[in-house]
């Protein structure tokens, strides 16, 4: 028995299996709270504005990353955005093959710094950078104040 012959599969020997109970609760934070409450209650997206730098941030945040000023002003994000980048996922986050590939996109909005990564609700063949999209929201009673309140982004005019 040498190092090179060692067993690398724990299951071939006497072993114990378990699941780490690493549960967590992640709160949205001050600016995130404003964003998610507006999304849930009014069905709109907010960006935080830095008047000094002339910047609107999405996702909304508490501080301007250019001048470090605290941000207290919020503005509406335009209804329509564009696909800046995309990827087609064939596996879910557990690594299990999906029955149907999913399209994920980074969506940006005119005049807004940042953007959102979300599902793109088109077949992979129709997905392309530059596509004009708008968020598809869940019904008011199903919204809980989470990013999943947006079902995904769908092409404008569909």
């Amino acid at each position: 028995m040498t190092f090179l012959e060692r067993t690398t599969d724990a299951r071939k020997l006497r072993h114990w299996e378990g699941n780490m109970e690493a549960d967590y609760i992640y709160t949205s934070g001050v600016a995130g709270e404003r964003f998610f409450v507006a999304l849930r209650d009014q069905g709109k997206m907010l960006a935080s504005r830095c008047a000094a730098c002339g910047l609107d941030y999405l996702p909304a945040r508490l501080f301007c990353e250019d001048c470090f000023a605290e941000l207290t002003e919020f503005v509406d994000v335009p209804q329509e955005g564009r696909v800046a980048a995309l990827t087609v996922a064939h596996l879910d986050r557990e690594g299990v093959r999906l029955s149907r590939p999913q399209v994920w996109a980074f969506v940006t909005f005119q005049g807004i710094r940042g953007g959102l990564v979300h599902r793109l609700l088109v077949p992979p063949g129709r997905a392309r950078v530059g596509l004009a999209v708008r968020p598809k929201l869940k019904a008011r009673e199903d919204r809980v104040g989470a990013i999943t309140d947006i079902e995904g982004f769908e092409p404008v005019g569909s």
Partner: protein
């Protein structure tokens, strides 16, 4: 805190604020599975326990019999060579009289635990275990002991397949 700071900045949240959903939040449990193996030597050791035997590994270079068994000799820096059965008798090397149980709960009748050097293994090699059939007044370092095994059908391939070590009368094996 300090003279200048009496209150931390920020928003304090209580456990109730979270459970009542006063703030938006994301809850998640990552799928963090693990498989922990006892390794080559310890797996055989545990399997042998179920058969009521203690097994060690011998290194042909330093002639030591390593117990608990390991596949690598830390003295010679080379793989060990053969499996060797050792006896379930030995000598108390050190012991404790514990008034705390395994959950650190106070108990009126103490448990006796300690390290036993086992016969057949190299000097000072053995295992830690419970002692039974003796009082805290009777136990002493150097005392000869023998393993008391659980009945075969109750053994699980665990060190607890040995119930405890009991006194070994002189002249007995």
């Amino acid at each position: 805190m300090s003279e200048r700071i009496t209150k931390w900045p920020g928003v304090e949240l209580s456990a109730a604020d979270l459970s009542e959903g006063k703030v938006t939040q994301t809850r998640f449990r990552p799928n963090a599975k693990y498989a922990w193996s006892a390794g080559e030597a310890m797996s055989r050791f545990l399997a042998e326990l179920q058969d009521g035997r203690l097994i060690a590994r011998t290194c042909h270079s330093c002639k030591r019999t390593l117990f608990p068994p390991r596949m690598f000799c830390e003295e010679c820096f080379r793989p060990t060579d053969t499996w060797t059965y050792i006896q379930d008798t030995g000598t108390i090397e050190t012991f404790s009289v514990s008034y705390l149980d395994t959950d650190a709960k106070r108990i009126p009748d103490p448990i006796l635990v300690g390290v036993i050097s086992l016969d057949g293994a190299s000097p000072k090699m053995g295992m830690m275990h419970y002692f039974g059939e003796m009082t805290k007044e009777e136990i002493r370092i150097g005392m000869r002991v023998k393993a008391v095994w659980k009945p075969w059908e109750e053994r699980r391939g665990s060190v607890l397949d040995i119930k405890y070590f009991a006194p070994l009368p002189e002249g007995k094996k």
